[in-house]
Symmetry: C2
Subunit: 335 residues, 2 copies
DNA sequence: CTGTTAGCGCATTCAA
DNA sequence: TTGAATGCGCTAACAG
């Protein structure tokens, strides 16, 4: 046991034990080619197993083209969506016998560059980033530098990406509220630099138009994904002279903030104001007033992203979201 | 710009530019020794900066003893506590010009071993783990194998660790509720394999004893950290013939589950039942009914852990928690 | 299919 | 203090 962790056997040891040359051992142990079934191959694998041989990635990557490692950039890991997303990426990597490195950027362009540099200096084979900002040209820089990358959750419309259909998601949320009889729906929007937010907004507008809802510009507020941002924006909306009877928030966290803002004003959810969130994080269904939300398949998006990055697939993947109604949205109260 | 990401300059390039040998450049750029102030040193650093030289960690670690990388093992990243903890670890590593690798284990002993192997095979200099289980001897194996490691948030009582004083935290939570006049407090406990949970329990018991609260064994329920676990356990407690007037949950998530269980039974928080959580995640203060919670300094714990691991400090660090009262806990209603 | 040779980028001998 | 030489563990190019 005490040997189990100590710097393991090297290729040389394996080669000796199997009575072959080092390069033969190397070749026979290379998982990239179809694993051979010859007697020698069996012997080498047996020797490797016996000695507990594990390839030294550092040394290996020195000669190989790639490192079998991908880099993942997210705004923050304290956000459940990003945490789950990264876990799914890591899971997919594990399946493919790769590893993943994460770095957080705080959604700050400067920190993004630093973090990407740091990842790249570790020679990752490619980057998955959920940090695309329409007001920053970092993604364009990656493209022109020829760095393999794929966007996830957010897109810049050019680089390959794996996203949910945010326009549809926004549309579904509004349709759901309209179906419940709401005519005046407030939008707790997200940052304009994120495509996810602008697409949700576009979908919401389409839904409002189609369903003949009020489209006052004063019904649109907010520019963040956080609980605080949601609370602040919802507070303003609910303080309007003609307040909305329902709110659509662009994340579950900002929806929780919206619930809080409502509660602070003595309004019940859904009695006085219906609320719909986005992402359907696990917490949503377990809240005291369970949260209606637009579900996004983070696992599919993560798998799609890895596939786009490594399997040289073209274009982008867009996965459809689903509206999950729960307690927080209800039929409008007859006045 | 398009060169910025391409495989950067090597030591050889720097050496040429500075008109010195490769080995001189290597030595002068070695951050482990006091940075020299000679003219040559300046020239080498300037050349390095000009070329955007970044040490190749893979190659470097082939010769150096260490890799300047530490491995972090957490149960899951979708949990806000772990997400924040890892971010703090990563921040501290950045300060020290190290990097960190994370892996999740799902709190499963088998996956823990696999993940640790995977990290170790990447030759990390040491391990930070928040996954200690009293019913598993993996930590003991690490010790006997001589793998540098430090425990965080949970401890096994032997290996060096950075934790909060969970016993005190449990005590403070109960004292807080007792001070509000509650005599019958239900405990939404955590898994018995986690020292954090057993210590909180011990502290809670001490508080109950000291404050003369009811100590029925039926007031203790639950064995998980999740929202679901909290909801389930709180549901049982609140269904008791003589239900508690307050609940102390061992995590904020299980406290939210407890709030949900209360709501499902038509009970108001804090009107009918007061609730206190643990960890004070950012969400706690922003809930519709803001959650009273025991605050833990994840940043200090993270820094302490890295310090213990790398600065060869001895023993363990225990940081004191703080009780943060909010809306979810209130004076008991006069009957 | 096999073994020999060369070298990835770097840090460390050692001799100057 | 410097530079030449050596090799970390591994893979790729080559010849057998």
């Amino acid at each position: 046991m005490s040997q189990e962790f100590t710097r393991g056997a090297t290729l040389k040891d394996v080669a000796e034990k199997a009575a072959v040359s080092i390069s033969t051992a190397s070749r026979l142990l290379d998982d990239r080619h179809a694993s051979k079934t010859t007697e020698t191959a069996r012997r080498v694998r047996e020797a490797a197993a016996l000695l507990g041989y594990r390839r030294d990635y550092a040394a290996s990557s020195l000669r190989r083209t790639g490192t079998s490692t991908i880099g993942v950039l997210v705004p923050r890991l304290s956000d459940a969506v990003m945490g789950i997303f990264y876990e799914e990426i890591a899971r997919e990597c594990e399946r493919r016998d790769l590893s993943a490195l994460v770095a957080t950027t705080g959604d700050d362009p400067h920190r993004l560059r630093l973090a990407a540099q740091s990842l790249l200096s570790r020679k990752v084979d490619g980057l998955v980033l959920t940090t695309a900002r329409t007001d920053d040209d970092f993604i364009a820089e990656l493209r022109s530098a020829g760095v393999p990358h794929v966007l996830a959750l957010r897109t810049d419309g050019i680089s390959p990406s794996a996203t949910t259909d945010d326009e549809l998601g926004g549309y579904l949320a509004i349709r759901h509220l309209a179906d419940l009889g709401h005519r005046r729906v407030g939008i707790v929007a997200g940052p304009t630099y994120a495509s996810s937010a602008t697409m949700r907004l576009a979908g919401a507008r389409r839904g409002m138009l189609e369903s003949g809802l009020d489209i006052d510009e004063e019904l649109f507020a907010g520019n963040g994904f956080s609980v605080e941002a949601g609370e602040e924006a919802a507070g303003r909306l609910l303080g309007l002279p003609r307040p909305p009877t329902a709110l659509f928030a662009f994340t579950d966290h900002s929806a929780i903030g919206a619930m809080t803002a409502a509660a602070r004003r003595g309004l019940n959810t859904p009695g006085d104001v219906s609320i719909v969130g986005y992402n359907d994080i696990p917490l949503a269904r377990h809240l005291p007033t369970s949260l209606s939300s637009v579900r996004v398949s983070l696992d599919l998006i993560a798998q799609g992203a890895v596939r786009l990055l490594l399997d040289a697939e073209e274009g982008s993947r867009v996965f459809p979201p689903t509206m999950i109604p729960r307690q927080s949205s209800a039929r409008i109260r007859p006045v």
